[in-house]
Symmetry: C2
Amino acid sequence: MSKPAIGFCGLGAMGFGMATHLIKQGYPVTGFDVWQPTLDKFKAAGGVPSTSLSESAKDKDFYIVMVATAQQAQSALFPEDGIVNNLPKGATLLLCSTVPSEYAKSVEKELKEKGRDDIYFIDAPVSGGTFRAADGTLSIMAGASDPAIEKGKWLLDELSAPTKLFIVQSGIGAGSNMKMVHQVLAAIQILSVSEAFGFAARLGLEGKEVREAVIKSEGWSWMFENRSVRTLGEDYFPGASAVFIILKDTGIITSMARLLNFPTYLCTAAEQVYLSGVDRGWGPNDDAGLVRLWTSEPVSSINGNLSPEEKQAKLDLVVSLLVGIHFVAAAESIAFGKHVGLPLQQLYELCVEAAGGSAMFKSFGPKYISILEGKGEGESVQGPFDGLKKAVDEAQSIKCPLYLGGAALNLLVSSKASLEGLLALYTVR
Amino acid sequence: MSKPAIGFCGLGAMGFGMATHLIKQGYPVTGFDVWQPTLDKFKAAGGVPSTSLSESAKDKDFYIVMVATAQQAQSALFPEDGIVNNLPKGATLLLCSTVPSEYAKSVEKELKEKGRDDIYFIDAPVSGGTFRAADGTLSIMAGASDPAIEKGKWLLDELSAPTKLFIVQSGIGAGSNMKMVHQVLAAIQILSVSEAFGFAARLGLEGKEVREAVIKSEGWSWMFENRSVRTLGEDYFPGASAVFIILKDTGIITSMARLLNFPTYLCTAAEQVYLSGVDRGWGPNDDAGLVRLWTSEPVSSINGNLSPEEKQAKLDLVVSLLVGIHFVAAAESIAFGKHVGLPLQQLYELCVEAAGGSAMFKSFGPKYISILEGKGEGESVQGPFDGLKKAVDEAQSIKCPLYLGGAALNLLVSSKASLEGLLALYTVR
């Protein structure tokens, strides 16, 4: 039996990788995009390019939408000559974009209202970056009815790594909520990369040495390891992941949090910095380029002429900054997961191996979860607190802004660095 | 009897006004400064200019230090040929600079160690701006031993308005603590002026109309009324109060708060923005110029062509932003006052009529104090919460950063806008 044809809308950095991966696996893929050069590249990669949404959907039993925003998804799905109107009866539709869970629910509703609830709809946002997209080893958080999951499972398997497909219970919206909570870590940790390199630059530390020290330390995060390659190479134009993208995801988090009355202290701080980057015209540049808020000099050419002891002491400060931020980020994400009713163990398993992963999340995630589930003992964790305090002290004396470090320290002060106290700050009274 | 001679060190914007006011009252004043043009101006105003610290102190039974920082005070007071070594026996010494209370205490200690505890030392920081300095109507927060206060009272009276001299109990350091806590309001409310004008500019509102609407609203603050004149005139070079000055005071607040384990959520957020202004080279410019972080166009020439209804709705959003920020600022300052052991009623009376005053502080200050003194009932205040939420929603949709508004909203979310809940966030667990 020949492999089924797949329709695909949105051949951006992630979508292009996913669609061409499916082509390599032998599926005929018809790809829609509005950008002709991308369509040409897609054709060269063996795809069927299309400039018509209706053509891309006609006779496709399987269809994937991977556009940038809910607005784009809406205008691709529901116009007269859009995707939904042209899908065959009983088709399976995957929405892989990062959208508010409310939007995913509204698609389900609109399908019903338009008499198209024959379509098996799956809310299936992804994480993992462009390499894993092109490799078919993404993390996917999928929520849908059981019959829809049954129909679409093989396709989700094709796109994800064996241990990284997470079927989230409670239907449409749950996948998007899972992604949103994962992005709490991303939103904070993407900025923490630049804040750490910026602080390091002001301390006179060379970028490559900073990268090496952080990667083997408790300050490690997936984002740091990933982004720092571009930081060192000043590979921002356009780089691989635009400020606009993480700003959009951060906006989903903070607007949903406002709706649900949940405080997102660090995400909110990060959002303002992303907006200030956009104000400088850096929206389309790689998010690693935000380090330019701290230094106009390339971090790889900084040389403070430090003695080995001075250098080590300063590297320790940079690591402490990251440890402190990520320690709080883990609490912010897990508490938000609890607030929106996600299964916390599954959230942990997903995040720890995905782009939101960090050494702090790995160590403290299970402890936070125990406390939120009423099982854990209160514990005071002095290390991250004392370390962050030293870093913020030093930054203040050299007039270096620490948007996340400053905010995280206040939360640790207020909670006296107790895990329970920290989570209490995220518990609406 | 002729009026006593006074020595004066530090003829900056504030010091010059204070010193020349004393000259007008008929006192012979010898003024030291390092900046020759200032000395020339001082001479023209009837003062005795001096380029020698020891000369300025010799035979002066009364001496006032009004330099910018504790570091400057230290290097003026204690060198061999400095002030202390050259003051006559039993002189009265006023330190009017804004310094950490720890520094004021260290001066007391060093006077004793150097065998100069014959000097009547008064820790007497001031507030009120350059006009009131030149007018002899400053607010002064004075802490000292009873005999020192007795000696210096007439001089404090000369410099302050009749109802604005606050003798703070518990000696040296108490005046500086009072000033520090007052500056919590200043640090936040100076930035809120620019954040409000920046938001308004992005909404298409003309600056003059914004000023008129805010001044008659609950969003009023002393800082807004004062700074907005310079915002409208783009009078930033150098203007009247440099970013460096409020950054220094904010640094005193946050470093002292770290030492004392108190969280200063909004001051910390403001500090990072002041630092980012310094990074842009705006440190010596007037703090009202921080609005340039939001708009390069002069706010007075913005014209969004709005209908009267649209304009009113948008002005309401700007007022709501300020109301929300100032509501939280009042809690942050009063809770800090409690934390450092200040008499809260006196703190209230001082701030409400000084540069830290705001409509929100005036209305809610007494309620916060009642709660902190164990007398008040919990109360939920929905207005500032709902209004701020709308402002932050709108700002997000037009991609306008709100550093203070975003942080304040999270605190209101976390406290469910209850006064008690908000104060609890400032109570170290």
